[in-house]
Amino acid sequence: MTRLDEMRRPERGKLLPVLFYLTIGLLLWGMHLTLVYAAHTAICALAASPLAATITLAAVTVAIALPLVLILFCQRAFARLLGISEGITEPRIYDRISFFLNLLSLAGILWSGLAVAVLSSCAPGR
C-alpha cells in the first residue's frame, strides 16, 4: 500500500526505462519480423539466392532469440541495468508483466522463425 508520505517525495521511476523494460521482448520481436521480412525480400529480389536467404533468416532468428532468452533468465539484473529502482510502487508487477511479454515475444520469434525450416525461400506464394 502506498503511504501518503511517499507522495511528498520525488518520483523514483522514470517512464522510459520502465516502458523499455516492459516491452523489450516485443521490440525484439518487431525487429525480428522487420529483419526477416526485409532480408528475405531483398535477397530474393536482388540476389535470387534461396540458400543465402535461408541461412540469413536462421541466423537472424537465433541472434535475436538468444538475448531474449538471456533477459528472461536474468530479469532483475536487466531491470537494475536499466536503473529501475526497487523503490517504485509494486515493482514485482512490472517484473511479471515484463516476463510474460518476453515469453510471448520469444514464442512469436521462434514460431515465425520456424517457417524457415519448413518452407523454401524465394518460392512465389501462388
Binding site: E6, R8, E11, T41, A45, I93, F100, L104, W111, G125
Partner: protein
C-alpha cells in the same frame, strides 16, 4: 488555513470554496455551449456525433442488404451501389469506430482518473469539431453523386485519375486524411492525459484497465495513422499532379498503397477492439462483484496485442504474389495474436467464475456475454483466414465479410452498447430501461447472427464481395434472403435503443444517477462540472470498494485540491510511473478559437477537393490565425507561485522543461512526425526494391553535386546551433536580451534556406517529379520537409512575438522549448533525408 498533513482532511472547508470551484468550471449556456471545452460536454457531443454516423452508415448497409435480398435485383444502380458500399465501410471505420472510442476516452478518462479534465481541453474540442464538420461533409457526398466508389480501402490503380475521374476519390483522400489529423490530436490528448493527470497514488500498476487500453490505443494511432496519411498524400498528389507513385509503367507500384494502407488498416482493427476490451474489463468485475482476475495478464494481453497487430498487415495481401516464406512469417504472427486475445477472454470468464455471488444479468452483462460469443466466433474464423491456403480460397468472398463483421461488431459494437447501458447513468438523470434493454439485446444478438452467419456459407459457395447483384441458380438466394431479414431485425434492435434514448436519456453534469451498479472505480464518484470536488488519494485498483468512505470524503472536499487556488481551471499533474504530485496545470476555459480553427481547417481541406485553391488558402490562413490566437493565451507563466493542494503538499503552478505537459505533447507530436517519415522511407526503399532498374531510370539526370547536400547540411546544422544558443541567452524575467530575436530568426532562416537549397539542387539537374517514381520520391522528401519547415517558421515567429511582448524569458519559456524541440526534430529529419536521397542511389547504383 492551517496545514493538515493527513487525508482525509478533517478541518472544516473554508466558506466560498465550492462556489469558487463552480464559478471556474461553469459551462456556458445557450448558443455559447458550442464554445464549451469541459470533457463531459464535448464527450457527449462526440459520442452523439459518432453514433449518428453509425446510424447513417447502418442505413446504407440496409440499402445494400435490400438490394442483395433477391437475385438480379435492380433497386439501386451499379454506380450508386459502389458509392454506398464505399461510404458504408469508410463511415463505419473512420467516422464511427475510431471516433467513438476516442470520444469515450475523452468522456470517461478524466472521470476514471479523477482529473478535473484532460490536459488540453481545447485540443479535444478542436478534434471534435474538425471531425463533426469534416465527417458531415464527407458523408453528404453520397446524396449528390460525389461519393467515392473505390471501396473503403481505395486500392489503386482503380482509384487513379484515369480509372476514377471526377472529385469523388478526392473527397475520400482529403476528407479522411483530415479526419485522421483530428484522431491524432485526440490521441496526443489521451497519451499525455493518461500518463500525467492520474490522481496521486494511482501508479501505472493501479490504473484502470480502460486507461491502459486507451494509452495503448493512442500509441497505436500515433504509429499507424501516419502510414495512411502518407498513403493518402501520395495518391492525392498522383491524382492532382501526376507524380507516379502507384503507376507501374513509370516505376511506381500499386502494391505500395496496399502496404501503407494495411500497415494502418490491420492495427486499426485492434485500435477499435482494445478500448472495447478495456470497457468490458471494467464492466465484468462490477457485475461479478469481484476484482478482475488476471489484471497483470490483461495488461500483458493489451500491450502484446498492440505490438503484434503491427506485424500482421501482410495477411491482407496473401494473394498478391509475395514469396511463400514471407507469407509464412505473417501467417505465424497472425496466429500468434490469438494468444493475447485469448488471455483476455479467459480472464473475463475467470472473473465471472470466481465471484462468490451470482453474476448479475443486466443489460450491460447481456451485451458483454453476447460480445464474448460473437467475438470468439470471429476470432476462430480469424485464425482460419490467417492460414494462407484457406485465405487463398476465401479471399474477397463473403466469408471475409462475415469474419470482419463478427470481429468488429462483436468486438466493438456489442461492448459499446454495454457501455451505453452501463455508463449512461453517470451522465444522465435516468438510467436506460432494463426491460427495453433486454429487447434491444436480443433483437441485436439474433439479428446480427442471422445476418452475418449465412455470409460464411455464401462466401464458401463462392459469392464475391462488393457485387451489386448475382444471377439466380448459384445456391446463394436463400442465404442472401436470410441475411437481409436478419439485417432488419438488427436494425429494429438499434431503433429500439434510439427510442429508449429519446425516452430516458436526459444529459446532466451534476444530477446523474448515483453509482447504480456499486462499482469500484473513480468515475462513479459524485461529480460536477469541475469533475470531483476534491481529487482522491488512491491506494488500490478498486478504490470505491477498498475505501468505502472515499465518495463522501471526496465530495466533502477532504482530499487533494478541493478548491480553485489559482482562481481558474486547474488539475494536478502527477509523475508518470508512481503518480506523485508534481505541479498544477492551469487550463483554458470556454473559447471560440478552437472552433474557428477546426471549421476553417475543415473548409480548407474540403475546398481543396473541388480545386477551389484560393478560397482554401484563405480558410487555411484563418485557421492558422485562430490557432495562434488560441496558443497566445496558453502560457500563463509562473506568476501565481506555489499553491497548497492539501496534506501539506505545495505545488508550483507553472512548469517548463521535460516535466511539463507541453513538452510531453510536443514529443508525442514528434513521434507522429517520425512515423510519417519512416513510412516515407519504407515507400522509397520499397519502390527501389521492386524496380531497382529504374532507380534512377536510364537517361535520368545525375544527382546534384556533393556541394548541394553538404551546403544544405551546413545550413541545417548552423540553424540548430543558433536555436540551441538561444536557450542560455533567454533573459531573467523583467530583463531584455537583444540577441534572442535575431538568433531565433537566424535559425528559422537557415531552415528555410536549407529547404530551398535542397529543392533547387534537384530542380537544377533537370529531374522532374512527374517523370518517374524515382523523381516523385525525391521530391516527396521535400514535401514532407516543407510541412516541418513551415511549422518551425510559424513557431519561431510566435516565439519572437512572445519575446517582444515580454512573455518569453528564462522562466516562462514553454513557447521557446516547443519551437526548439520541433526544430531539432526537423533538423534531424532533413539530415537523414539528405543521406537517403543523395547517398542511397550512389550506394545502390
Amino acid at each position: 488555513m492551517a496545514k493538515f498533513k493527513e487525508l482525509p482532511n478533517k478541518l472544516p472547508r473554508p466558506p466560498g470554496e465550492l462556489q469558487e470551484l463552480e464559478r471556474a468550471w461553469k459551462i456556458p449556456g445557450g448558443f455559447r455551449l458550442i464554445s464549451a471545452v469541459n470533457n463531459q460536454v464535448i464527450g457527449i457531443l462526440y459520442v452523439g456525433a459518432a453514433f449518428l454516423f453509425f446510424i447513417l452508415a447502418g442505413i446504407l448497409g440496409l440499402i445494400m442488404r435490400t438490394q442483395l435480398a433477391v437475385p438480379e435485383n435492380d433497386l439501386v444502380g451499379q454506380d450508386f451501389y459502389n458509392q454506398i458500399f464505399t461510404v458504408h465501410g469508410t463511415t463505419m471505420m473512420f467516422l464511427f469506430a475510431v471516433p467513438v472510442v476516442e470520444a469515450l476516452g475523452v468522456m470517461l478518462l478524466p472521470q476514471m482518473l479523477a482529473a478535473r479534465d484532460l490536459p488540453f481541453p481545447r485540443l479535444s474540442a478542436f478534434a471534435i469539431w474538425a471531425y463533426i464538420v469534416g465527417g458531415l461533409v464527407f458523408f453528404s457526398t453520397v446524396f449528390y453523386d460525389l461519393a467515392p466508389k473505390g471501396g473503403w480501402f481505395m486500392y489503386p490503380p482503380l482509384t487513379l485519375k484515369e480509372y476514377s475521374p471526377g472529385d469523388n476519390a478526392d473527397f475520400w483522400l482529403l476528407g479522411i486524411g483530415f479526419i485522421e489529423i483530428s484522431a491524432i490530436a485526440g490521441a496526443i490528448e489521451i497519451i499525455v492525459g493518461t500518463l500525467r493527470t492520474r490522481p496521486p497514488g494511482m501508479s501505472l500498476t493501479r490504473m484502470p484497465i480502460f486507461a491502459w487500453a486507451m494509452l495503448i490505443f493512442a500509441a497505436m494511432i500515433m504509429i499507424a495513422f501516419p502510414a495512411v496519411i502518407l498513403a493518402t498524400m501520395l495518391l492525392e498528389i498522383e491524382r492532382s499532379f501526376g507524380w507516379p507513385f502507384f503507376t507501374a509503367e513509370r516505376g511506381g507500384d500499386p502494391l505500395l498503397w496496399q502496404h501503407l494502407f494495411w500497415f494502418f488498416g490491420h492495427p486499426e482493427v485492434y485500435i477499435i477492439f482494445l478500448p472495447a476490451a478495456g470497457l468490458v474489463s471494467m464492466i465484468v468485475p462490477t457485475m461479478a462483484r469481484h476484482p478482475l482476475v488476471g489484471y497483470r495478464l490483461i495488461v500483458v494481453a493489451l500491450i502484446g496485442t498492440g505490438f503484434f497487430s503491427f506485424g500482421l498487415w501482410v495477411h491482407h495481401m496473401f494473394t498478391t504474389g509475395i514469396p511463400s516464406l514471407s507469407l509464412g512469417f505473417f501467417s505465424a504472427a497472425s496466429m500468434a495474436v490469438a494468444i493475447p486475445s485469448g488471455i483476455q477472454v479467459f480472464s473475463w470468464i475467470a472473473t465471472i467464475a470466481s465471484s462468490k455471488e451470482r453474476f448479475r444479468i443486466t443489460t450491460p452483462s447481456l451485451f458483454v456475454l453476447g460480445f464474448l460469443f460473437i467475438f470468439t466466433v470471429g476470432g476462430v474464423t480469424g485464425v482460419m483466414v490467417a492460414l494462407v491456403p484457406i485465405d487463398f480460397q476465401v479471399h474477397d468472398t463473403y466469408f471475409v465479410v462475415a469474419h470482419f463483421h463478427y470481429v468488429l461488431i462483436g468486438g466493438m459494437v456489442f461492448p459499446l452498447f454495454a457501455t451505453f447501458y452501463y455508463w449512461i447513468p453517470a451522465f444522465s438523470r435516468n438510467m436506460l430501461s432494463e426491460r427495453l434493454g433486454r429487447w434491444v439485446f436480443w433483437l441485436m444478438f439474433i439479428g446480427f447472427n442471422v445476418t452475418f452467419f449465412p455470409m460464411h456459407m455464401a462466401g464458401l459457395l463462392g459469392m464475391p464481395r462488393r457485387v451489386r447483384t448475382y444471377p439466380d441458380g448459384l445456391g446463394w438466394n436463400a442465404l442472401n434472403m436470410v441475411s437481409t431479414v436478419g439485417s432488419y431485425i438488427l436494425a429494429a434492435g438499434v431503433a429500439l435503443f434510439v427510442i429508449d434514448l429519446f425516452l430516458r436519456f436526459r444529459p446532466t453534469i451534476d444530477k446523474s444517477v448515483d453509482d447504480p451498479w456499486k462499482a469500484g472505480t473513480l468515475e462513479w464518484l459524485p461529480t460536477g462540472a469541475y469533475s470531483t470536488r476534491s481529487i482522491p488519494f488512491v491506494t488500490s485498483r478498486d478504490p470505491l470498494w477498498d475505501q468505502p468512505n472515499l465518495a463522501r470524503e471526496v465530495e466533502e472536499g477532504r482530499h487533494f485540491l478541493p478548491g480553485a487556488p489559482t482562481g481558474g481551471r486547474e488539475t494536478i499533474v502527477t509523475s508518470p510511473v508512481d503518480a506523485r504530485p508534481q505541479y498544477i496545470i492551469r487550463m483554458p476555459g470556454p473559447g471560440w478559437s478552437q472552433l474557428v480553427a477546426a471549421v476553417f481547417m475543415a473548409a480548407a481541406f474540403l475546398l481543396l477537393t473541388i480545386k477551389a485553391v484560393a478560397i482554401a488558402l484563405v480558410c487555411a490562413v484563418i485557421s492558422i490565425g485562430a490557432c495562434i490566437f488560441w496558443g497566445w493565451k496558453l502560457d500563463h507563466g509562473p506568476g501565481k507561485g506555489e499553491v497548497d493542494i492539501g496534506a501539506g503538499i505545495k505545488l508550483p503552478t507553472y512548469m517548463a522543461g521535460p516535466k511539463s505537459h507541453a513538452w510531453w505533447a510536443m514529443v508525442v507530436l514528434m513521434l507522429v512526425a517520425s512515423s510519417l517519415y519512416i513510412a516515407y522511407v519504407f515507400s522509397y526503399l520499397y519502390l527501389w526494391i521492386v524496380s531497382p532498374e529504374v532507380w534512377a531510370p536510364r537517361g535520368s539526370p545525375d544527382l546534384p553535386g556533393a556541394g548541394w547536400p553538404i551546403g544544405t547540411a551546413f545550413l541545417v546544422i548552423a540553424g540548430t546551433i543558433a536555436m540551441a544558443l538561444t536557450r542560455p541567452m533567454l533573459p531573467i524575467p523583467g530583463r531584455r536580451e537583444p540577441a534572442v530575436p535575431p538568433l531565433i530568426a537566424l535559425a528559422a532562416g537557415c531552415l528555410v534556406a536549407a529547404f530551398l537549397a535542397e529543392l533547387w539542387g534537384h530542380l537544377s539537374t533537370g529531374l522532374r517529379p512527374a517523370e518517374n517514381s524515382y523523381g516523385a520520391m525525391v521530391y516527396m522528401a521535400s514535401v514532407l520537409n516543407f510541412q516541418l519547415v513551415f511549422a518551425c517558421f510559424i513557431l519561431a515567429a510566435f516565439a519572437i512575438a512572445r519575446y517582444l511582448t515580454g512573455r518569453l524569458d528564462r522562466e516562462r519559456r514553454v513557447t521557446y522549448e516547443n519551437a526548439a524541440l520541433l526544430y531539432y526534430y526537423a533538423a534531424a529529419q532533413m539530415l537523414f533525408g539528405l543521406v537517403l536521397v543523395h547517398g542511397f542511389p550512389r550506394l545502390a547504383g
